[in-house]
Amino acid sequence: MRTRSVLLLVLGFVIASGLLNLHRASAAGLDITTKKLAADRQATPAFYPRSVATATCSDVLICPLGGAAGAPSNGDTVTLVFNTVLQQSTMCSAWTSNTTNRSATVTATISNNAGATGSDVLTVPTISGVTCSGGFKFGSIDLGSSGYVTSNISYTNTDFNLTNAGSNPQIVLKFRSGSTGSTVSSSIITYNCNGELTSSTGKACGKNTAVSAAVRQF
């Protein structure tokens, strides 16, 4: 009888210890804070670039022996696609109609190591045959590598074609007059909108970007 009593007494202490630990665990999990909390449900971007891609020259008139794969050169193309119709006047003030497709001659420049992380950057600083008050606002393409040029290269007489209709408004650039850059085996290019570009409904392109796959460009 006495042995059983002792065992029961020990059992009592075990149960008591368990409860004590449970309460301690609860106390350890209680975290009172005065931190601030903000939350909201935001709509997705209304106007953004959907894709950016390059292609090596396939124009036999420009590169009868084929393009210089992996290096920017004449005949190479850059294609940029938006998700909805562009407000053309935000790219060039002279373009007041959104239903007109545009063809023009521009100068495309690859600036050496001009990107935020030191990569080479493609811009379109000038357009011929039309006066754009405030400048031509194309945006820029970070080429994802510093190896494409060792100094700035400009491709004058570059074809610029804007097809601004449907769900795939796109811009195609084709280089025509410039020197060949250096070969890069693979890179990810990123198109950054000009801060003033908007959709036809006035939605800003803002900080939205389009990126390519990691592939051989140009």
Binding site: M1, P45, A53
Partner: protein, 165 residues
């Protein structure tokens, strides 16, 4: 007369003792024995209840410090670092098929140092990509390692949470 009365009293007191039968006495003894056995366990129950009560009290005592000072209480709302309705959402889309990253900008300086989280949801309000633990710096938070990379056309909303600073 007095003697006679006393005799009746004695007789009356002695009568019950004589009237108790053997079975009845046995039942009484059994009941007494049961009570004694039960009494042996009362101390055990008391110990268990006491130990439990002590444990509970000790636990609370570990998390609450007693004081004899005056206590005043109140309720104060901690304002968020910013009304997020004014924040801007931008994303990075890869080859028209995948949202690779999201940037929240336009956050006030008061949000710098806070920790932001996002969840991309579809039209059924189901999560189709998320990332948490991004520290707000210079008024923006960049989410570049989403748990999944949905097609931009399937994303309906971006739920944003900012905690702190």
């Amino acid at each position: 007369m007095a003697i006679s009365t006393h005799s009746r009293v004695l007789a009356a007191q002695a009568r019950p003792r004589v009237a108790v039968s053997r079975p009845a006495q046995r039942r009484g003894d059994d009941l007494l024995a049961r009570c004694r056995r039960a009494a042996r366990y009362f101390w055990l129950i008391a110990v268990l209840l006491g130990a439990t009560s002590t444990a509970t009290n000790l636990a609370f005592a570990a998390s609450v410090t007693g004081t004899d000072r005056d206590v005043a209480s109140g309720f104060t709302i901690v304002a968020p670092c910013q009304d997020l309705t004014t924040a801007e959402i931008a994303w990075s889309v890869k080859t028209n098929s995948a949202v690779m990253g999201v940037e929240i900008s336009g956050l006030g300086a008061g949000c710098n140092g806070a920790v932001a989280s996002i969840t991309l949801t579809d039209s059924a309000n189901a999560s189709i990509g998320s990332q948490s633990g991004v520290t707000v710096a210079s008024g923006s938070a960049v989410f570049s390692t989403l748990s999944a990379n949905p097609s931009p056309s399937t994303v309906t909303n971006v739920n944003v949470t900012v905690v702190g600073p």
